[in-house]
């Protein structure tokens, strides 16, 4: 079970308290009624499916009930960072450095 840091509660809580809520940073167009079919398709249907870091929304549904954003590595399943709704995308170069200390080497890797 993953531990997820809720940026509102400011603590790590077990995955069971959370629910995934799709890709992050997709804003509903303010003039949605007048956008083109292509723009609507982009907004509603198309999603990234990256191997590596992904921006996604989570909801602390069995906690504070807030939606927030997270950066997660789809390969290792590790959360790089979480942040509040409305905050800009974090600088990943910086976040990656902060969260990826040099992997510890064991006896076998001389």
């Amino acid at each position: 079970m993953l531990l997820i840091h809720c940026p509102y509660c400011e603590e790590e809580r077990p995955e069971l308290e959370f629910r995934h809520a799709g890709e992050a940073h997709i804003a509903r167009p303010a003039d949605i009624a007048s956008i083109s079919d292509e723009d609507f398709a982009q907004y509603f249907f198309y999603r990234d499916n990256p191997k590596g870091l992904t921006f996604e929304r989570w909801r602390h549904i069995h906690g504070c009930a807030r939606f927030f954003n997270a950066v997660r590595d789809t390969v290792s399943d590790k959360f790089v960072t979480t942040y509040k709704t409305g905050e800009p995308k974090p600088d990943l170069a910086e976040a990656a450095n902060e969260n990826k200390p040099q992997a510890k080497k064991g006896r076998g890797s001389k």
């Binding site: 509603f44 590790k78 064991g106 076998g108 890797s109």
Partner: protein, 1000 residues
């Protein structure tokens, strides 16, 4: 000779001779000692033959003294329901009355018909099943598969439900130490004395690990095993330490989440009834110290599976811990020093050691000299090329390893050691990457992925002093990393002795047979031989993952404990590639077999899923309701009277509601209180309908769409005040509608001043419907004028009902004049009972969900999820009137303009009139325009709702049909397996089309 077995050596071992235990194996009674495993007690009684192998039904004995055991699998039964198959005899502790049986044999263990597979074994080589039984195809299902299934598998599962219960605990700690040998105990002690919260677990009944057999090791001046017990006692009394024996760490998951299973009662003769059989520990540790030790490997040679052939350290465990000599004439075959210690121990205990056969040319260490000094014949540069005997090993054939004449040496047991494989299972499960160490020819922890560290033998650390030093350092370091206030532990442990087991080989020895019909087992449990691995390579399996799947090497419970390295080395040799290039298969949880009981734990029976009952449930039950499951809810389905079946009951309920009145429990509806200055604006955005102008005290039916324009939910919204709404949702939709609303409120419209509160559980809802509904409730209503003029259809008011605060809605899901009374949940039953008592003499009935479905269908009211399927727009459902034409924005506004949504050919909701006037269509049945067309026919729609309508005197149905609105009056067809049913397309209102009854 003692009473506890002919092979028990007086003065040897740590068990108390007076503490005897009676148990049975295959119906025969034996005596063992308290502290024995089943394997130890059987060997003490000179029983080596304990089972038959999986594929060839070869006689099998006891190979090991631990959880890596692949052969000695038995069934253990306490009673009819408590029968556990495939228990490792090397793990099961004996207790008085233990009843164990051998498996996979018929009619008896000594004479097994299935052993014919062994003779026919050239037929059953690797990939046998893939290549055979391909023809004729039909024979697979009816002939081959049933026969194979019958013959396959080892033990038999019990047929009764498991009567035991299993406990579960969550635990958090600074440092989790996996394994309680010298390394684990040292690490735990250092961490604990540094002030860290420590959990220490070991799979055995007592701590010590290799100290169980390693008699020469001394710590702090005392016997190693004794030190382990004293250290355990010291740890157990510390407040910051939890010591768990008989507890296996079986799975290592993300973020240092480790699953442990503690076996609580399997070793007890008469466990107390309230004790759990096992306890699942879900541990979240800041740091994990893996001290899992190493597993001794067998030698790969012909017939290396004969009973009596076992790992050298296992024989030491049986001798030094249990006081049992595994044989009187014990041969030894080794590629490593550790087997010498076994030979020396047995020799000193009185067994004859005819020869130590060492495949190495010049083994050079103290133990070799010691063996020679004891007069043991040491044959270096030699190999055992075969074993004689069938039900028990009788001899070993010894040859110079590079060829020469063979000598047959009689033995009654044969010990082997090919070296030690570091147990990197937990490290690998943590997603750490192992690395090949060329010098010591083993895989060691390479790159770590989590906050853990390996110490001791599982880290490739050789020698007791080195192990203890490494473990103390790791324990102290882990405590410091986990806890800012950790202090210096000050723990020092003095060590003496303890072997450094140099040497070892991987792969097959001479005589393991490339082309010959020879069985040199690599994986005992799956009956995989060296030849099978070579064959797999020959047949084109060039990746170790393919070799594994083709041969099943290392599968099932082995998970790479014994077979991995040998299999890998043989494959690498056949491929002519270095081992690291061939790779290693993945270690997967569980480390050892784990019961479903422990994993499922409390979540079974009534605790599997919550059951939700409304406050009126008991009254409904008393009234004879039959309940149906709606999600987690129990809902009254219908109320049969004596002699009525469901059909009769529903017909009566339907008639009574329309003729008199009926009362219905609508509590399960989702309810959301929407409050705030922008509440109306918010609902205007979330629903297709306009809400800004809805008057206070008025109700409006609302449709909620997703952005794509498809119906997501529906319900009635009441305006209680300018800034306060009472919103209802479908029963099943309650949580997702709340989530949907919160999502938009928090992330898209965060500037709106609105607060949402789920009130589904707070209100009990009682619907009273029918011509007499007003008359029935009126005497109990205070503060609300119920007359049609003051309180018309689609109004709401707050007042009191039966003296308690209530929100009364004048609304209808039946087409009759009716009321939905919301009262605080705790008063629900009182109000229900009061109204029932009053209404019953007036002819009112209780009705359930089935009648509710029929009545609403008579009126053409849709049920979201039944008449819609996530691809239906409000227009498709005939609800265009509910979409605000003047609105400039709402969720779904743009979706409803999509080309495919406005195009022709959409499936639209229509009514169907069955022409014969009596056939009730099947819900889900497909509809075609021309029943004579060729199959497969073009299907133009499907039946979404269908009932017998007592009030209409005929069947009614709704269906989603392509361009349905343009087909009014057309004849369509519903093809069924036995006939074609003719239907006419109608509108969806079957009863009281003008709607006059609503306003009565």
């Amino acid at each position: 000779m003692t009473t506890a077995g002919t092979n028990r050596i007086a003065g040897k071992g740590r068990l108390t001779p007076a503490n005897t235990v009676r148990f049975t194996f295959d119906g025969k009674s034996y005596t063992g000692l308290e502290g024995d495993t089943l394997a130890a007690a059987l060997i003490a009684n000179d029983v080596h033959l304990v089972g038959r192998s999986f594929k060839y039904h070869r006689p099998r004995g006891i190979l090991s003294a631990g959880p890596e055991e692949p052969s000695a699998l038995v069934g253990v039964r306490r009673d009819a329901a408590r029968q556990t198959p495939n228990i490792r005899a090397t793990v099961q502790e004996i207790h008085d009355g233990l009843d164990a049986v051998s498996q996979n044999r018929w009619p008896s263990l000594a004479f097994d018909i299935g052993a014919v597979n062994d003779i026919g074994s050239p037929l059953f080589s690797a990939g046998f099943y893939y290549k055979t039984f391909m023809w004729p195809k039909v024979a697979w299902k009816h002939v081959y598969e049933p026969v194979i299934r019958n013959a396959a598998g080892l033990g038999t599962a019990p047929e009764e439900p498991d009567p035991d219960h299993y406990a579960g605990r969550y635990a958090h700690c600074d440092v989790l130490v996996i394994g309680g040998g010298a390394a684990g105990l040292s690490a735990a002690l250092a961490a604990a004395e540094s002030g860290a919260q420590v959990i220490l677990c070991d799979e055995k009944p007592s701590f010590g690990g290799a100290l169980w057999f390693e008699e020469e090791a001394r710590l702090d001046g005392m016997d190693g095993y004794e030190w382990a017990q004293q250290t355990t006692d010291r740890l157990a009394v510390m407040d910051n330490v939890r010591v768990l024996s008989r507890t296996t760490a079986f799975g290592y998951y993300a973020q240092n989440f480790v699953g442990l299973v503690e076996r609580v009662t399997d070793h007890l003769a008469a466990p107390e009834a309230d004790m759990p059989r096992e306890r699942l520990w879900q541990v979240r540790a800041k740091r994990v110290i893996i001290a899992a030790g190493a597993i001794e490997r067998h030698m790969v040679f012909a017939n290396n599976d004969r009973p009596g052939i076992m790992l050298a350290a296992a024989a030491r465990t049986y001798l030094n811990h249990h006081g049992v000599a595994v044989g009187r004439k014990v041969g030894v075959y080794t590629a490593n020093d550790s087997a010498y210690a076994a030979a020396i121990d047995l020799k000193k205990a009185g067994s004859d050691i005819p020869a130590i056969v060492d495949i190495r040319d010049n083994p050079d260490s103290v133990v070799v000299e010691e063996a020679k000094a004891l007069g043991i014949r040491v044959l270096t540069g030699h190999a055992v090329t075969g074993a004689g005997g069938k039900l028990r090993v009788a001899s070993m054939s010894v040859e110079p390893k590079n060829g020469g004449s063979a000598e047959v040496i009689p033995v009654d047991a044969l010990l082997m050691s090919a070296g030690w494989t570091p147990s990197v299972h937990m490290f690998s499960q943590s997603r750490g990457k192992v690395a090949w160490d060329e010098e010591s020819q083993r895989f060691l922890p390479g790159t770590y992925a989590q906050d853990c560290v390996s110490v001791g033998a599982c880290n490739g650390t050789d020698g007791l002093a080195e192990t203890v030093a490494e473990a103390l350092d790791a324990g102290e370091r882990a405590a410091k990393e986990a806890r800012a206030k950790a202090k210096k532990s000050g723990v020092k442990i003095k060590t003496e002795g303890g072997g450094k087991w140099a040497g070892g080989m991987i792969g097959a020895g001479p005589g393991a047979g490339a082309g010959k019909v020879v069985k040199a087992f690599v994986d005992y449990q799956n009956d995989v031989t060296a030849k099978d691995i070579r064959l797999a390579v020959q047949e084109g399996m060039h990746s170790i993952e393919h070799v594994k799947r083709f041969t099943t090497n290392g599968m099932a419970t082995d998970q790479g404990k014994l077979s991995n390295l040998h299999g890998l080395a043989i494959a690498a040799e056949a491929l002519d590639r270095p081992i690291p290039k061939v790779g290693l298969t993945t270690f997967r949880p569980p480390y050892t077999p784990t019961t479903f009981g422990a994993i499922v734990n409390h979540a079974r029976g009534k605790l599997f899923d919550p059951m939700r009952c409304t406050p009126m449930h008991a009254s409904e039950e008393a009234a004879g309701a039959v309940f149906e499951d709606v999600g987690q809810w129990k809902r009254a389905w219908y109320y049969p009277r004596p002699g009525e079946d469901m059909h009769a009951a529903v017909n009566r309920e339907c008639r009574t509601v329309r003729e008199v009145a009926g009362m219905f429990d609508a509590t399960t509806l989702g309810k959301i209180e929407v409050i705030g200055p922008d509440a109306a604006k918010f609902l205007d955005l979330l629903y297709t309908n306009p809400f800004m102008k809805l008057g206070v005290g008025k109700l409006r039916y609302g449709i909620m769409c997703r952005e794509d324009g498809f119906i997501y939910d529906d319900g009635v919204v009441g305006r209680i005040a300018e800034d306060r709404f009472h919103v209802t949702t479908t029963t099943g939709g309650a949580p997702r509608v709340m989530n949907h609303m919160e999502d938009y409120l928090q992330t898209e419209f965060p500037d709106l001043k609105v607060w949402l509160t789920s009130t589904s559980e707070q209100w009990a809802v009682i619907a009273v419907q029918g011509p007499k509904s007003r008359e029935i409730i009126a005497p109990f209503v205070e503060g609300i004028d119920l007359s049609s003029e003051a309180f018309p259809h689609m109004s709401m008011a707050e007042g009191k009902v039966c003296g308690v605060p209530a929100r009364v809605f004048r609304m209808s899901f039946t087409g009759e004049a009716g009321f939905e009374i919301n009262v605080p949940a705790d008063y629900g039953r009182m109000v229900w009972d009061t109204l029932h008592e009053h209404g019953k003499p007036m002819g009112m009935c209780l009705y359930g969900t089935e009648t509710m479905h029929v009545l609403r269908a008579e009126k053409g009211y849709i049920i979201v999820g039944q008449d819609t399927d996530g691809t239906v727009t409000p227009h498709d459902a005939g609800l265009s009137w509910a979409v605000g034409k003047k609105k400039t924005d709402f969720v779904g506004i743009r979706g409803l303009m999509r080309p495919d949504i406005v195009a022709k050919g959409r499936r639209q909701l229509v009514g169907l009139k069955v022409k014969d006037g009596r056939t009730v269509l099947e819900e889900g049945a497909q509809i075609v325009a021309d029943p004579k067309q060729a199959v497969p026919m073009t299907m133009i729609g499907w039946v979404s709702s269908s009932y017998w309508s007592e009030n209409c005197g005929r069947p009614i149905a709704m269906a989603l049909v392509e361009d349905g609105f343009e087909r009014m009056g057309d004849t369509l067809y519903v093809p069924m397996p036995d006939r074609v049913i003719e239907v006419e397309v109608t509108n969806t209102v079957f009863f009281d089309e003008e709607g006059g009854r609503l306003h009565g």
